[in-house]
């Protein structure tokens, strides 16, 4: 069988395209179609199907641990007796959130990012949410809708855990969904006592972490600070991810005191985007001890008091969010 060279080149290009289409169908489209089918026939919210929660198979959320010195006393100056809201703040007896917009030049580029300073009275105020609690299904929802459904005062995008629900180690609102240690993924653990730790692969075992009662575990990363508040010199991610992008990340000062940072990016005049090192430096300057990068790019999104904060918010529907809300049972 002899064919001319141009014919063979065209044939091979078309064959490559066809193979990639088949790959994309099985890798991306088919799981999504299955997820939509599952979510349509899913049981009532709160009931987990398919993935066995662990360590105990119960699906009810465990009660958050009580701390000896209450955060309510420690951060009393930040809370208010009644709910007070403004353009950039929210105060109540349980939650205090202040959102600040920061603009400036970094590495010769105009940058804009948003810092949400958060004080909570109870760990249940720091929650996570996906629509219908469908952590095993790749369901996406507009950011504003997710925030409203979850009753969020403040929310940012999460780690897209439900896009890769069958792998990794993640816990949401006290329920462990998967315990697989990914070989190249840093994790971030918020414990029920309010402390937050980040771990590189190989620095932890699922048993050790589950013993300490994790409230949330995210699997995206990388971790940004060294635990003493200093930016890491290298990050456990690819150079493409390290480059300037819209960012979304969370930081930790002490139990009960956290911050969310979301940056603009890919905008000609509204923000160039932060490189991973710049993001780490921002958290270090804020005084955080730990910080952890979440999904960025078009997913980077902050919603405060029912309104989108960053310009690029809403570019993409989200799988999951981190949120600050009033506790369901008043402490």
């Amino acid at each position: 069988m002899r064919r001319s060279l141009p014919f063979m080149i065209i044939q091979d290009v078309l064959l490559t395209g066809l193979i990639l289409c088949v790959f994309a169908f099985f890798h991306h489209v088919l799981p999504r179609m299955e997820a939509v089918d599952k979510s349509e026939s899913s049981p009532a919210p709160g009931v987990q199907a398919g993935i066995s929660p662990s360590p105990a198979p119960e699906t009810e959320q465990p009660a958050p641990a009580q701390t000896e010195e209450t955060w309510g006393d420690k951060f009393a100056q930040y809370f208010s007796q009644e709910i007070q809201t403004g353009e950039n703040f929210y105060k109540s007896p349980n939650v205090s959130v202040t959102v600040e917009t920061v603009e400036g030049e970094l590495e010769g580029h105009f940058q804009r990012w948003y810092v949400a300073d958060i004080y909570i009275k109870d760990i249940s105020c720091f929650s996570a949410y996906v629509e219908n609690d469908s952590y095993e299904s790749y369901v996406t929802t507009p950011a504003l809708e997710l925030a409203e459904l979850a009753g969020a005062i403040l929310s940012i995008n999460g780690d897209y855990c439900n896009a890769q629900a069958q792998s990794g180690f993640f816990v949401r609102n006290g329920i462990a969904y998967q315990q697989e240690q990914l070989p190249r993924c840093d994790i971030c653990v918020l414990y029920m006592d309010g402390s937050l730790e980040t771990y590189a692969p190989g620095e932890y075992t699922a048993e050790e972490i589950l013993e300490r009662q994790p409230w949330q575990i995210w699997k995206f990363g990388p971790e940004l600070l060294d635990g003493e508040g200093q930016p890491l010199e290298s990050f456990n991610t690819s150079s493409a991810i390290e480059a300037a992008n819209p960012r979304s990340a969370l930081g930790y000062y002490e139990p009960g005191h956290y911050c969310f940072v979301v940056s603009e990016g890919r905008l000609s005049d509204g923000g160039y985007g932060l490189a991973m090192g710049e993001l780490a430096q921002i958290f270090s300057d804020l005084g955080c001890k730990r910080a952890y990068n979440l999904d960025g790019g078009d997913s980077a999104c902050m919603v405060f008091n029912g309104e989108l904060c960053n310009i690029r918010s809403g570019q993409r529907e989200l799988g999951d969010i981190l949120l600050i809300k009033e506790p369901e049972v008043q402490p």
């Binding site: 790959f23 890769q164 993924c185 690819s238």
Partner: protein, 76 residues
């Protein structure tokens, strides 16, 4: 039968080339977004197994063909 074998012999290297190019592209995509699991998902693993099988088959066909040609040359 000979036609089928000739077709397989013709299509094997093209399939291998296309799948190798596809894998190169998937690897680049994985660098941009590792969390999508382009290289670690079950589908990717199957893709790599198929690529390996194709490489082995192509090599076997090539070796067999070379052996036969050498043998025939020796006879003449």
């Amino acid at each position: 039968m000979r036609k089928i074998f000739a077709f397989i012999k013709y299509i094997l290297p093209h399939l291998l080339l296309s799948m190798a190019l596809g894998l190169a592209l998937i690897t680049v995509l994985d660098g941009y977004n590792p969390m999508m699991g382009f290289l670690t998902s079950q589908v990717s693993k199957i893709y790599i197994y198929i690529l390996c099988a194709l490489a082995v088959l192509t090599a076997l066909v090539y070796i067999a063909e070379t052996q036969i040609k050498t043998k025939n040359k020796g006879k003449h």
